[in-house]
């Protein structure tokens, strides 16, 4: 019994379902809690989203390539401390920002080197750096928080152009760049190949090691970038920056349709996943005013989204994992 070819070849069911869910959620939210969909309100509350969103872009790439990065939250803590310490020593904002980005890059490079060159399992390596980065951040900063970076800096995360906050534009540009990279460039497409089978990819001439190192370094860089926005938003650079973020980012990426096994995923899906989780948390918070429910709903959403995908969509595919 053959299915219509168009349907069988359509690879984006997950994104479509997500889109439908998002519309459904927004509709339900507006119905139950009128005023939810105000543009002003949504944009204002979106500020929380940008930090995660930026890191979700690199996480998508990493997971498609069959890896994972549990250390992004802790990397933020280390970057924040680097930022704070550098600013305190030099009083120069640009230098502090560079220090922040550099710390992220170095951390990512460390991860990448261990995973790619020394062939250690990404879960283990990033679990270790998850603990190590956070610990070092706390030790170096002695638990102190750095602040007073100047009004212009706080404005950075707050300023809006046509109502949309600057970090939003940053994210949009990054998303388009990363999306095009993934979709259109040979390197980008090879990431899918690596996710399917690193061995086969290597035999095809793809420099798996170099790409992997690049991905983790990029992840570190974006963690640094996210930290700059984070510090600007909260006017504080402290070792506990980004605590728990890795879980939220991974959740968004996975809900967005990226398979944890690798080989599948899109930037559009990740964006949808981010929005779905963000809006769900907003809706739950607004309607029930009970903070605990947010964790429960997001946790269940994560499991259910993958479950549905596995049960329904995977049956159409003939791939064996």
């Amino acid at each position: 019994m053959n299915q219509p070819r168009a349907v069988a070849q359509f690879n984006y069911w997950h994104e479509l379902v997500l889109f439908g869910l998002l519309i459904g959620l927004l509709g339900l939210a507006e119905y139950l809690s009128p005023g939810f969909l105000s543009l002003r309100g949504q944009l204002y509350l979106s500020r929380h989203l940008w930090v995660f969103a930026i890191m979700a872009l690199s996480m998508t790439l990493i997971i498609i390539a069959g890896g994972i990065d549990l250390s992004v939250g802790s990397a933020m803590g280390l970057c924040a401390v680097a930022f704070g310490v550098t600013f305190e020593m030099t009083g120069q904002l640009p230098i502090a920002i560079i220090a922040c980005l550099l710390t992220g890059v170095l951390g990512g490079l460390f991860n990448g080197a261990l995973i790619a060159r020394f062939k250690l399992h990404p879960l283990i390596v990033t679990l270790a750096t998850y603990a190590a980065f956070r610990g070092m951040a706390e030790g170096i900063s002695q638990g102190e928080s750095y602040s007073q970076f100047g009004d212009r800096f706080s404005e950075l995360s707050r300023a809006t152009l046509l109502g949309i906050p600057l970090p939003g534009y940053l994210f949009f540009v990054l998303a388009v760049l990363v999306g095009l990279f993934l979709w259109r460039t040979p390197t980008g497409r090879s990431i899918y190949a690596i996710g399917h089978s690193a061995e086969a990819a290597r035999f095809s001439g793809i420099s798996v090691n170099r790409i992997r190192i690049g991905l983790y370094t990029f992840s570190g860089f974006l963690a640094g970038l996210a930290t700059v926005i984070y510090v600007s938003r909260f006017d504080t650079a402290k070792a506990d920056a980004g605590r728990g973020f890795e879980l939220d980012v991974i959740t968004a990426v996975v809900v967005g349709g990226t398979s944890i096994f690798g080989g599948r995923g899109t930037i559009v899906g990740t964006v949808l996943g981010l929005l779905l989780i963000h809006e769900t948390r907003q809706f739950v918070g607004r309607y029930w005013q009970v903070d605990e429910l947010k964790s429960i709903v997001v946790g269940v959403l994560l499991i259910v989204s993958v479950l549905i995908y596995q049960l329904l969509v995977r049956q159409r595919e003939t791939r064996s994992h």
Binding site: L114, K119, L120, Y130, I260, I296, V298
Partner: protein, 333 residues
């Protein structure tokens, strides 16, 4: 006559290159160093305290070891501990339902096992990757537990339970007894039952195992259910030691257990590892805190505790993997 290096390594070499040996040496070195600084570290009461603290981690690590051997993972054990603690508190506390121990304790164990089974079902039947299931449960169970406790802590556990957990029998607290039993039980499962052999066979090579007709579903269901059961058991023997039951119990516990299992030599790629290694790793990770206290490192250095722990974990985990790689003699992707 040339020596074939692969088949005729000396007994000495074979022992000293094993992970367990390295861990044992490390523990011994640290102990000697600290006792040199402060001989009271070796007091019976201190050793007993450290053993008691090892108990819950060791108990859950037995289950986690099997999970990781089958190439899965469970990062929800901390939140499950909180859930079972809250449930146990509600059932047994004199301020709450005040049920009998004979009802409350088995019920708590069943709750843990049920959640473990749920995890297993989602992984095997639902085909949801275990990292996802347990990640979702990590957040959902914690939120649910906080909701359940309604902003109040739970006191008033039965005195007999508290006494057993704190003082125990013949001077040894309940936790240590139970941990010993669990270790023996797990050892028996691994070494002497077909189930155990299948678990390791499956972990080593899924392909080969499936070709031989082994099915993975019952194995994986078992390991997750076992871990859930053990988490509830750990809760029962350890939580009554604490002053009160609060919603923050078990935070970051999963990190500790997974670290111990990995440092203990169990490979995330599946199929390897010994219980002895895991046990030694548990002791090593648990002794860090008291060692630092006995070394009297002073205020500023105390703030580096997390850094020290984190770096130790990183070194142990990464160094371990590097060594394994070198010994195996070749890259694997």
């Amino acid at each position: 006559m040339t020596r074939n290096s692969k088949t005729e390594t000396s007994a000495f070499a074979r022992i000293t290159t094993r992970r367990e040996f390295g861990l044992a040496v490390l523990i011994a070195l640290i102990t000697i160093f600290v006792s040199f600084f402060d001989p009271r570290f070796l007091d019976a009461i201190n050793l007993r305290d450290i053993l008691v603290r090892c108990a819950p981690t060791a108990i859950v690590a037995c289950g986690m070891m099997l999970v990781i051997v089958t190439a899965e993972i469970d990062i929800s054990v901390g939140s499950l501990m909180a859930l079972t603690a809250a449930a146990m508190g509600i059932m047994l506390s004199e301020n709450e339902w005040n049920l009998s121990l004979w009802i409350g304790l088995p019920a708590t164990l069943m709750l843990g096992t049920a959640v473990g089974l749920l995890t297993g079902l989602l992984v095997t039947v639902g085909k949801v990757p275990s990292i996802i299931v347990t990640l979702g449960l990590l957040t959902a169970l914690r939120g649910f537990t906080t909701l359940m406790m309604g902003g109040k802590n739970i006191d008033g556990l039965p005195p007999s339970l508290q006494h057993a957990a704190k003082q125990g029998f013949w001077g040894i607290p309940l936790g240590v007894w139970v941990a010993a039993c669990v270790l023996v039980m797990t050892l028996v499962i691994i070494a002497w039952t077909p189930l155990g052999r299948r678990i390791f066979a499956f972990g080593s090579s899924r392909y080969a195992a499936t070709m031989c007709g082994l099915s993975e579903k019952p194995l994986k269901l078992f390991v997750f259910a076992y871990t859930g059961f053990l988490t509830a058991l750990a809760t029962i023997v350890d939580v009554p030691r604490l002053p009160t039951i609060e919603s923050g119990i078990g935070l970051e516990f999963e990190l500790l257990v997974v670290t111990c299992v990995v440092v203990g030599g169990v490979s995330i790629n599946g199929g390897r590892g010994t219980l002895l290694g895991v046990l030694l790793a548990v002791v090593l990770m648990t002794m860090i805190r008291p060692v630092l206290t006995y070394l009297e490192i002073g205020e500023e250095a105390e703030k580096w505790t997390k850094a020290i722990q984190g770096t130790l974990i990183a070194i142990a985990v990464i160094g371990d993997s590097l060594l394994r790689r070198r010994r195996r003699g070749g890259p694997r992707s």
